[in-house]
Symmetry: C2
Subunit: 432 residues, 2 copies
């Protein structure tokens, strides 16, 4: 496989076959050169969600830099595409402009979260890859933000790697961290994105040993008394007693992974306090989602570990984003045969806020059309991401995007943070 300037493999074949047959036909009749604008947006939020979170921007910009056709990619396409198209692809490097909502921004139905301006051939072949990244990462970050919101000041650990494809796991850890999770279990996410990783032991470690006390002693000898002991392999009350007996009251934390977590947590806290382990934290895991987290608000939990529901988007594993051609040579275009209508034209958007900072409305408007009347508290949402194929230097880092989302969440009207199904948190106005 062609490897790019860095150590990453080419992303060029992570693409639907039809992108390249369209390219071939458009090269043949000259339309491949037409100046086009493509837009990523979604028509709806899933399951009555009230907001979505833009995620994947940083990954997409990397993936576009790696979107190159080397000998292995071209070999695969020989016999599928004609020589002219193969030669064109051999020279391909994205050369257009991209702007979009910054990573960590909120989005709503119709928000133009990413806009690609390029000749048709240059822009169309990014469709599949751009949507794969946005549909996955936005779905995970949107679910994760609800969990962070439900957890309040308590820390969240992402531990869902085993429940999803091994590479989705890395991207999920990134999306969760963006949304405010404190750490991940995924080591590659640590290496690739600098996300803090953590973990101590599983039930297997206890089962491996001749007794639970032996297992705890071995873990403490290796990882120190600040470690987290998993106390529910056999009997939780006995497990906690053994944990403190072996570790002493300075034990960092106990983890409970099964059972009626609310009841167990209260009992565990009391038991720990009675044993003098008043600083020993309680980590809960085991099929938690945002609703379970919210339901545990009154329980003495210190840390939540979230797995399956995070990596599956808590019921919405994909974000319904589409990548639509909206403008050709300055002329708005749109599909019109069904209820799937999209609004043509290159668009921008701004968000309006009260003087208190609370967001009130999102206004979407054509760049070449009527502009919204300016108001104090307006914030234009799209920012430049690539210019003439080069990533602009102002693209936010992952920690900056994390902070951006934190601020954006604070700006939502309080109803917008409700977990129950409802309308989008902001009114979206589309100027035609």
């Amino acid at each position: 496989m062609h490897t790019t300037a860095g150590d990453r493999p080419s992303t060029a074949l992570l693409t639907d076959h039809y992108e390249l047959t369209m390219l071939q036909a458009a090269l043949a009749d000259g339309t491949a050169e037409r100046d086009c604008v493509f837009e990523i947006f979604t028509r709806r939020l899933p399951n009555g969600r009230r907001y979505g979170v833009v995620a994947g921007t940083g990954r997409l910009l990397d993936a576009i830099a790696d979107f190159r056709f080397g000998p292995a990619e071209l070999d695969r396409l020989r016999g599928v595409l004609d020589d002219r198209t193969l030669a064109w692809l051999a020279d391909y490097q994205f050369s257009g402009d991209i702007e979009g909502y910054p990573e960590g921004e909120l989005y709503f139905p119709g928000s133009p979260v990413l806009t690609v301006r390029a000749p048709f051939g240059v822009g169309v072949i990014l469709e599949t890859l751009a949507l794969s990244i946005y549909n996955h990462d936005c779905a995970i970050a949107s679910a994760a933000a609800r969990m962070v919101s439900a957890a309040g000041d308590r820390r969240l650990i992402e531990m869902g790697s085993r429940r999803t494809h091994e590479e989705s796991a890395v991207a999920s850890a990134r999306a969760a961290y963006l949304a405010g999770f404190g750490s991940t279990s995924n080591l590659e996410a640590g290496r690739r994105f600098g996300i803090p990783t953590g973990g101590t032991a599983a039930h297997a470690f206890t089962l491996l040993h001749d007794s639970e006390a032996d297992a705890f002693a071995a873990q403490i000898a290796s990882l120190g008394v600040g470690t987290t002991l998993l106390v529910d392999t056999y009997d939780i009350t006995q497990g906690i007693a053994t944990a403190i007996e072996v570790a002493g009251p300075e034990l960092g934390a106990v983890r409970i992974d099964s059972g009626d977590l609310g009841v167990l947590t209260i009992a565990a806290r009391r038991q720990l306090d009675d044993l003098g382990a008043t600083k020993t934290r309680i980590v809960l895991s085991g099929d938690l989602d945002e609703y379970a987290i919210a339901a545990l608000a009154a329980a003495p939990v210190d840390v939540y570990g979230v797995g399956t529901s995070l990596v599956t988007g808590s019921g919405a594993p994909t974000a319904s984003m589409v990548y639509k051609l909206v403008e050709v040579d300055g002329r708005p275009v749109e599909k019109r045969s069904s209820n799937k209508q999209s609004h043509g034209g290159h668009k921008s958007a701004l968000r309006r806020h009260k003087t208190t900072g609370t967001a009130t409305e999102e206004v979407i408007f054509r760049v070449a059309g009527d502009q919204p009347d300016p108001e104090p508290g307006d914030r234009v949402l799209p920012v430049p991401l690539m210019r003439a194929g080069e990533r602009v230097p102002t693209v936010a880092t992952l920690p900056e995007s994390r902070e951006h989302l934190r601020s954006a969440m604070v700006s939502l009207p309080w109803e917008g943070l409700k977990l129950s199904a409802g309308e989008p948190a902001l009114t979206v106005t589309v100027l035609r």
Copy 2:
């Protein structure tokens, strides 16, 4: 990043942090050397499904061969793990035995679909990666098999890449092909796994042109009259008329991607026949799942294109597989603190069949315990996959696994193929 003998990157960090801290503690107290058996199984099928499909086996064996710790991986772990553990990992290469249900086999709750026998340290660190691959690929293949079953003799095209993580997309295409889909839109799945790929054009290609007729003419000039024209960008009836006007009655196919597909298909077939295009096929796409496919059984559809519902496992995006330590130094072990009880001991399984070939029961038994009484029609399910760290030469190829599943589906009792929620298609008996 460390790259392995082939051109693939190391898979070693696609792993939960705690696998390696457990390893460190077990190396320190000597338990890392204990002879262990780990088992992958699921406690339940999702959403009242009646069977699951084993998938990911070939991918896992490749990923295990690439599970090596090179300088980049070790650098990342310095400061996290002690020197003894880092040195051990630098030499790591899986050296154990693996057996399992062949890829394409059916599974039920409790089926021991994969068994890893190795010293604790050697086997435990594969947990995360093995589960990521099995939980993803089994979920997709299990959904795909229901779609194939619902489609009967009609061909299915996998086109969901844009709705899932870019690498999940490749694995999803593989799982769909395993389950009987005829082709995929994903070019990398073609390159990596030899799966047939296909595709022609999207709505963007029509919108790019000055008229639908121009777009169709350009596509036919480039791809030939056997191509598939997408006729629903503006008005479907007009689109079909234009398609045949431009292509003539030899047009390969039309594709309809939106609207009330049942009604539209009947009208489209009549219109095509009236225009003399009696051999022009009809391809349907647009939010199809197994239920929609079943509902279209009486409509004149030739090919279904399936996207979102395929790559999201049609409501079950993960397969609930777990990787449990079941035996230590010949002694069965099991967790017992909650309803999550697992059955200890190294297990095997056989499936019983009537003389007609219809499966009747799955029997799971301890290798070291009571054996089931042999009956004619018994088939032992696990096969060897790796011996002393080497892939055995008899591991099935992807086309062989595809044929294996086709036969296994035929062996199911007819109730087992129902799409409605219900009990597993076979009784599972566990001998204790």
